[in-house]
């Protein structure tokens, strides 16, 4: 859009541009506040009393939070791995279906995305209750699998669709068996997408609170559940310190997944 053709709408365009910039700033103000206030040498979060890193020390010694962190990490690793493999196999299987079958299967796969997560949580709890299953890491992982699988499928399916089927056929003509083709052709070509899927599923699982409320057991409180119960009695600088580490963790994940992959997932950008 060149300047010449915009003349009739120059003022409204300027107003929307400033509004948009304001929105982007609005998105950052709370995050910056968490980071800054985590270095606050005060017992209350909002009164600045000088710079200090003592809350990070407190955090490092909080055994309750550390054990919750371990549960979240374990659930995240297991469910992200299962979801990514499930998504990969589903993508490979769907490539072998006709258009109708593909539409039907992807409809089922993306169903959990349009059902309120709280209903999915309640539903799983009902099944666990009926089976008299003990709530713990196992049920937690199953719950997180439900919420991560659609995302894994979304990412891997998109990348798999972009693959040239001739590559797989060429490998078959050259005498590769099914397993060899999977290991030597499909997986290496999808490496970037699989990594992105894993990392995204891990963060979804790690930050999940709604599903975890219904599927975690007495000894398997996740980090968000622990933080939520702490927050009910009030926000402390220690929680801000934890929040800062989680913001840092967000950067690591985004860089790890690769910006291009991230953009492709969120806005379908293939140009790069």
């Amino acid at each position: 859009m060149s300047g010449r053709t915009r003349i009739p709408g120059r003022l409204p365009d300027a107003v929307t541009a400033w509004l948009a910039r304001g929105v982007i700033v609005f998105l950052y103000v709370p995050i910056v506040a968490v980071v800054v206030l985590s270095f606050n040498d005060s017992d209350v979060t909002y009164k600045w009393a000088g710079f200090s890193t003592r809350w990070y020390g407190t955090l490092a010694q909080d055994t309750d939070l550390l054990s919750a962190l371990r549960v979240s990490a374990e659930a995240g690793v297991i469910s992200a791995t299962l979801a990514t493999f499930g998504g990969l196999f589903a993508a490979m299987g769907m490539a072998r279906l006709g258009p109708r079958g593909r539409a039907l299967f992807s409809g089922g796969l993306f169903l959990p995305l349009v059902i309120p997560e709280i209903v999915l949580g309640v539903a799983l709890l009902s099944v666990f209750g009926m089976l008299k299953a003990t709530l713990g890491l196992g049920t937690l992982v199953l719950g997180h699998l439900v919420v991560t699988l659609p995302y894994a499928a979304l990412i891997v399916l998109g990348a798999h669709r972009a693959l040239d089927p001739a590559l797989d056929e060429a490998a078959a003509d050259l005498g590769c068996g099914v397993w060899q083709r999977f290991r030597l052709v499909t997986v290496p070509l999808l490496k970037q997408a699989l990594l992105a899927s894993w990392l995204l599923c891990f963060t979804i699982s790690f930050g999940n609170i709604v599903m975890s409320t219904f599927t975690s057991g007495v000894g398997t409180t996740t980090l968000p559940l622990r933080v939520y119960s702490l927050l009910k009695t009030g926000l402390t600088p220690e929680i801000n310190a934890l929040g800062t580490l989680l913001v840092l963790f967000t950067f690591v994940i985004i860089l790890g997944a690769g910006l291009r992959q991230m953009r492709r997932v969120l806005v379908g950008d293939d140009s790069g």
């Binding site: 859009m1 053709t5 929307t16 541009a17 948009a20 910039r21 982007i24 998105l27 709370p30 995050i31 506040a33 968490v34 206030l37 979060t45 909002y46 009164k47 499930g86 998504g87 196999f89 589903a90 299987g93 490539a95 072998r96 279906l97 006709g98 079958g101 039907l104 299967f105 089922g108 796969l109 349009v114 059902i115 309120p116 709280i118 209903v119 309640v122 539903a123 799983l124 009902s126 009926m130 089927p165 078959a172 790690f206 930050g207 709604v210 409320t213 968000p224 933080v227 939520y228 927050l231 926000l235 801000n240 929040g243 989680l246 913001v247 985004i254 910006l259 953009r263 379908g268 950008d269």
Partner: protein, 306 residues
């Protein structure tokens, strides 16, 4: 499932040789094996549980928080109590308002983004990905920092002269609403931007050359073209808002509850599973109805436009 026709297994013409038939059987077996993990997960962990919730919503509770069985409409009847109806009404209003604000701001940000040079777009997109990917709970408690009495927002309004002394910004309905918008705004931006980016900018320019003013370019040309993105953004905002329970507790003080709070309370505090199941089914129905309404509204608008 539809018939499988893929290059790897050519459909037989005329007589079927035994070799071709074993090939086809093997091909089907591999397909089924590949689809089984995800398929079984959805059936066992989504479809079967949903059926069970519907069943439980007609059951009677036992005093220990379980299900006694039987068949009754009393749970749904009880759901018509004004106390519960108020929660549903408030939730719908809150979700509708949140969706409207997120769509409006999402469109403004997307329009701004789409008008930048490609290099800048990439950078701005990264700026939007960070808050989107920041932990939900962190994004919620961040507002407690800002809105605490004597906190930054309070200091600012004091300095401007808007308030005098320590004002109680949280807990309040307003704080709860700000938290909801903040939580869902990035979710709304991406689908709108994704569709707007695919719109040829020369369409807007052509409309301008033909005499459309700024508003008309947006309302008559751009907005109809971005409708799929707006619809996706609306669904991704409206449905999850109804199920949220953390934000009303932390920022709203738990006074004005959403359906999400109601369900969690019924399950964990009242230990009344059938009532919780009935509320969940009601939420599910609300969601289906709102999706249908959004869908019809979109297709009606499309017909009107053409």
């Amino acid at each position: 499932m539809a018939a499988v026709t893929v290059a790897a297994a050519p459909p037989p013409t005329g007589t079927v040789s035994p070799a071709a038939r074993t090939d086809r059987i093997r091909h089907h077996a591999v397909t089924v094996a590949l689809l089984a993990p995800a398929g079984l997960t959805v059936v066992a962990l989504v479809l079967v549980p949903l059926v069970l919730v519907v069943r439980n919503s007609f059951a009677r509770p036992d005093p220990y928080g379980g299900i006694r069985g039987g068949f009754t409409f009393s749970n749904y009847h009880e759901l018509l109590d004004p106390v519960y109806l108020k929660v549903f009404g408030y939730s719908l209003g809150m979700a509708a308002l949140n969706t409207a604000v997120c769509l409006l701001l999402g469109y403004v940000v997307s329009y701004y983004l789409a008008g930048r040079p490609p290099q800048r777009q990439g950078l701005l997109l990264l700026l939007l990905i960070v808050p989107f990917w920041t932990d939900f709970l962190v994004r919620t408690f961040a507002w407690i920092n800002l809105l605490s009495p004597g906190g930054p927002v309070n200091a600012l309004t004091d300095a401007v002269g808007l308030t005098d002394g320590q004002v109680q910004w949280i807990p309040s309905q307003g704080a709860s609403f700000v938290g909801l918008v903040y939580a869902f705004l990035p979710t709304a931006i991406f689908p709108i931007y994704a569709t707007l980016r695919g719109v040829d900018p020369s369409l807007g320019e052509a409309a301008r050359d033909l005499g459309c003013g700024w508003w008309r370019v947006h309302i008559r040309v751009l907005l109809p073209l971005v409708r799929p993105g707006l619809l996706a953004a609306a669904l991704l905002t409206f449905v999850p808002t109804l199920g949220v329970f953390v934000i009303p507790v932390l920022l709203g003080g738990g006074k004005n509850q959403l359906v999400g709070n109601l369900i969690v309370t019924l399950y964990t505090e009242f230990r009344n599973q059938p009532m919780g199941a009935a509320a969940s089914v009601a939420l599910l129905v609300l969601m289906i109805v709102s999706a249908a309404v959004l869908g019809t509204a979109a297709s009606r608008l499309r017909r009107k436009a053409s």
